[in-house]
């Protein structure tokens, strides 16, 4: 019957999801970042896993992130419908039923945690379970709609993947994994507040208490600068641990300088000027923030290669 109706109306939004709609439910762009950071955490660890175990660990961490993404979309469907940026997500677009999203989210979360425990170890699985809980319950259901600090505390969920990758390989948490965590944790607020500055009407329409809505744009600009300054020591400190090195330090110094200059320029300029040039500086800072995170984790990866080790040894780098 449904098929006949569909033929008569010729509408494409039949409520029957395609596979791509399910993939969209898992937030593939967030997943790609999770895969990258978890893989780096796993590869820079001093213990090497069997390649298939490593592959399985990264896939299950990514599936866990996907599951929590589906749970987030299920819970946030009402505000996603209101915001321009999220209105085309599978649930507000009518492609996936909310119940389907909930079932997929719960199933993927459960499968990913159990399989990561079997593939790697139960500490890594426990951290993954906590991350999913933190993102789906603490951030999505509680913080996001109740406090302007939502991004700050909720950022922890995105910061866990490299630590989970490290723990999957080594079986324990260490200073290096904590610094990788702090790098993403402190990077998240400036990244999202820059986005909130130029996606200005979205959050107020949805009544999400972003800092821009509750405390104004001037305060948000100041917060971006403060968090960027606070981020720098964590980024640089990682250079003097086993995952860092001279190459990482050079990359980190350059990226942090650019990031600080960007944050300074955002803080200095008045709102009228930003509106006049359509938030050019804010958009550029947002793009730079992506390069900042990618650059740091790529540098960790390069430092784990033998040539980088030889370079460090040749200049007497001994951390």
């Amino acid at each position: 019957m449904g098929d006949i109706q569909a033929d008569i109306t010729g509408q494409s939004a039949t409520g029957e999801a395609g596979f791509g709609d399910y993939v969209q439910l898992l937030k593939p762009r967030v997943m790609s970042l999770v895969v990258f950071t978890a893989l780096v955490g796993l590869l820079v660890a001093p213990v090497s896993l069997h390649p298939i175990e490593a592959l399985a660990a990264v896939i299950f961490i990514a599936l866990g992130a996907g599951g929590s993404g589906a749970l987030n979309m299920w819970w946030d469907a009402d505000i996603d419908r209101v915001m321009t940026r999220t209105a085309r997500r599978p649930i507000p677009a009518g492609k996936v039923e909310p119940g389907e999203a909930l079932a997929i989210g719960v199933a993927l979360s459960g499968i990913s945690v159990i399989m990561l425990g079997l593939a790697a170890n139960w500490l890594a699985a426990g951290l993954l379970a906590f991350t999913i809980f933190f993102y789906a319950v603490v951030y999505s259901m509680w913080l996001k709609r109740s406090t302007p600090q939502n991004i700050v505390i909720g950022g922890a969920a995105g910061a866990f993947p490299p630590m989970i990758g490290w723990v999957a390989a080594t079986g324990s948490v260490s200073l290096e994994s904590l610094l990788m965590f702090m790098l993403i944790f402190m990077w998240t607020p400036p990244h999202f507040w820059a986005l909130a500055l130029f996606m200005k009407s979205d959050y107020s329409k949805a009544k999400v208490p972003m800092l821009t809505v509750t405390h104004g744009r001037r305060v948000t600009r100041a917060h971006i600068l403060v968090y960027t300054v606070a981020l720098v020591p964590f980024a640089l400190a990682a250079a003097f641990t086993s995952i860092g090195g001279p190459l990482y330090l050079a990359v980190s110094v350059v990226l942090n300088l650019l990031f600080l200059i960007g944050a300074w320029r955002i803080w200095r300029r008045p709102e009228a000027q930003a509106e006049a040039d359509k938030y050019r500086i804010e958009k550029r800072f947002f793009a730079l923030s992506l390069a900042y995170l990618f650059g740091h984790f790529a540098a960790f990866l390069i430092e784990a290669t033998p040539p980088a080790g030889m370079l460090a040894a040749s200049i007497g780098w001994s951390f």
Partner: protein
């Protein structure tokens, strides 16, 4: 408007079924590969399987005698 035998809905359903099938196939292959990898590394794969095995019985283990 023409009534097509294969509506867009059918192709979408076919794509979804194919995607789910491939995902399940990949999952099975991954679990199989994982099992092979763990066995190759000599991980402990023994568990109770309803038959008596002396190597799993603490009472039959030889006590370690400290050397002088």
């Amino acid at each position: 408007m023409t009534i097509n035998r294969d509506h867009e809905l059918h192709s979408r359903r076919w794509g979804r079924n194919l995607g789910v099938a491939l995902s399940l196939g990949a999952f099975i292959a991954l679990v199989f590969g994982l099992s092979v990898a763990k066995i190759q590394r000599g991980s402990l794969m023994q568990a109770a399987d309803h038959t008596y095995r002396a190597e799993l019985d603490p009472a039959t283990r030889t006590p370690v005698v400290p050397s002088e």
